[in-house]
Amino acid sequence: MATAFGIITSSANHIKVAGMQDYRPMGAFSFAGRYRVIDFPISNMSNSGIDNIQVYVRENPRSLAEHLGNEGAFNINSKKGKLQLLFSDNSTANDVYNTDVAGFAENMNIIARKPQEYVIIAPSYMVYTQNYNELLEQHIASGADVTLLYQHVNNAKESYLHCDTLNLNKQKGVLAIERNTGTANSKNIFMDTYVMKKDLFISLIRDAQKMSSIYTLSQIINSEVNDLDVRGVLHRGYFATVTDFKSYFEANLDLIDVDNASSLFNENWPIYTVTSDAAPTKYYEQADVKNSLVSNGCSIKGIVENSVIGRGVTIEDGAVVKNSVILAYSRIGKDVHIENQVVDKWAQIIHAKEIIGTPDKPGYVKRDDIL
């Protein structure tokens, strides 16, 4: 059987999530209450039997390092497996230098030493489930040099604006990788997921560096698309990107829908995360919770609708929380009314009586803030 090691990339420098990203990289963002975004690619790899995984980190590594320090939680073999955090020097002179290729190049020796023949590269900022073993088998059977995973969407005019798209011929051959400019609704969104041989990967990194310091892996593949056999594989099922604040907000609320949730969460494909040993959640007599995802460790006395509630959140008497994402350990005080908000961890909303956003323009409450 062919073997692969895994690489989990950090977001490209043009992707920014206002507010949240000041505190942690996107992979460490809380998702669906009890998870972090990076739990999805790691669980995909772990469930596919890939237990040598490199995670590339650029900024604010603290929360990610802490989370991934619990190797055992991700069902990675404690002897044969390895979960490596690889840091790259962040250029402060100009953010354009901070590419994925720069990160790979800095850790080239570690990549070159990997005994596995293949590499599977997945982003830390997208949420989907995929059996990479099947993808690898498909890649080998097709004889392609590079396989790229994509999802077909019908709302690319307004969403996925920071993502790349695949221009495919009828045989699923990739003609070009282009930024989504929002010109059409029907697009093949590239899921920033690659399969190729390790040797090809290494030579692509070298090619990119020769070409330009700002070249990324997808750009070098795009420029060599005529010399290489690059193919797309269609992914089906739940897919969300965390590529800006709104997409983060929407992806969380998407999972309140039980159909979306059951497409993402499957008993045979567990998503691992690190437990906080929180007790179950207490619902009081005056609580009224509808259409929501609630994590453990909460204390709920207020009204909650269409919301995602993280671990250990307190929602006090008379509080109303609608259409919001409340991250762990926050407190929504007595009679406070909030709508369309992302409330970051450890925030307390006790003085402000009303914070109302719109679904198109959700608000953000900073971590540790007291409002």
Binding site: G33, A279, P280, T281, N296
Partner: protein, 379 residues
């Protein structure tokens, strides 16, 4: 071995037959409690939080699940070098045939070699079937302060119930003068919690003698403690104040779960300084549907609720479908209440399915209805 030089042994071999069908295939300490826990998580977490890092678990009845469960010491943080949770079922030895544990004391006697290998100064004996949070290190401090040969944790129970317990009669300082097992006319209300600290050298000697005594039932309460008192040893009662519950029956197991709904019950599982650790189930957060009504409930991850839930405790992966009504009820892991079913004053066992529109339990019943088999509904 930890700094306090105390090793803990948890007696977890009993069936708990008053729990009826719940313990057909699992031992009582492995029975689920409080949404996400098993009963044995309490003594194990108490040990971990008290700085005890070597714990032996004595198993016997239906021990397969219990053995594999406690063997993963990582769940309680009992996995650093020199620490661990050790599963100790009866075993064959070079000088003795395979035999069952004949009593609580015999279970320890048969593992003297295990305890000796750690050379502890103190031995803590615990039972695997009580719900409580207790700092055993405080009890050890008490034991040392009184220069005791043995210390027994006691809790004040209502006088009218005292004849159900092993009762310690003490002098005004707390020194035990008499022990009475289930006395018809109790002289005190201090009930033994089945938690003992012994000086290991002394206990070791007592156990070796007890093993050879043909008249002994090899039980701590019936044999070891009375012998120690007869020999004039210094036994002290350590009075525990706090929540403590023996979940020996379906009714008491139900009650102990319901206590979690009451902020004044004295049992707080959310205290960050004394967490109860357990297995981490890979499960979604709680999915609360558009038609859900939840009033006064304790619910854990992996539950899906789209019906009415009132004064109930829902365990991992339990499901309440649209139009169903669950009141004053405990749903054990994986229990499913189908559409329109009504469940009242019941304890629904693991993975049991209550069919659509079925009616189970009775608000006026004296005892809690145990539902251990699937209930057919209209389908």
């Amino acid at each position: 071995m930890s700094q306090n030089n105390m090793l803990a042994m948890i007696l977890a071999g009993g069936r708990g037959s008053r729990l009826k069908d719940l313990t057909n295939k699992v031992a009582k300490p492995a029975v689920s409690y409080g949404g996400k826990y098993r009963i044995i998580d309490f003594p194990l977490s108490n040990c971990a939080n008290s700085g005890i890092n070597v714990v032996g678990v004595l198993t016997q009845y239906e021990s397969v699940l219990l053995n594999s469960y406690v063997a993963q010491g990582r769940r309680w943080g009992l996995d650093s070098n020199g620490s661990g949770v050790f599963v100790l079922p009866p075993r064959e030895k070079a000088d003795a045939d395979l035999d069952v544990y004949r009593g609580t004391a015999d279970a320890i006697s048969q593992n003297i070699d295990f305890i000796d290998s750690y050379d502890p100064e103190y031995l803590l004996i615990l039972s695997g079937d009580h719900i409580y949070k207790m700092n055993y290190d405080d009890m050890l401090t008490f034991h040392k302060e009184h220069n005791a040969d043995a210390t027994i944790a006691v809790i004040g129970v209502p006088m009218k119930e005292a004849s159900r317990f092993g009762i310690m009669n003490t002098d005004e300082n707390g020194k035990i003068v008499e022990f009475e097992e289930k006395p018809a006319e109790p002289k005190s209300n201090l009930a033994s919690m089945g938690i003992y600290i012994f000086n290991w050298k002394l206990l070791r000697r007592m156990l070796l003698a007890d093993m050879k005594n043909p008249d002994s039932s090899h039980d701590f309460g019936k044999d070891i403690i009375p012998t120690l008192l007869n020999e004039g040893k210094s036994l002290w009662a350590y009075q525990f104040k706090g929540y403590w519950k023996d979940v020996g029956t379906i009714d008491s197991l139900w009650e102990a779960n319901m206590d979690l709904l009451d902020d004044n019950s004295g049992l707080n599982l959310e205290d960050p300084s004394w967490k109860i650790y357990t297995e981490d189930a890979s499960a979604l957060p709680q999915y609360i549907g558009p038609d859900a009504h939840i009033k006064t409930a304790f619910i854990t991850q992996g539950c899906k609720i789209d019906g009415e839930v009132t004064r109930s405790v829902l365990f991992t992966g339990s499901v309440v479908k649209k139009g169903a009504k669950v009141t004053d009820t405990v749903l054990m892991p994986g229990a499913v209440v189908e559409e329109g079913a009504v469940v009242t004053r019941a304890l629904v066992a693991n993975n049991v399915r209550i069919g659509a529109k079925a009616i189970v339990g009775d608000a006026k019943s004296e005892n809690i209805t145990l539902v251990a088999k699937n209930v057919k509904g209209e389908e």
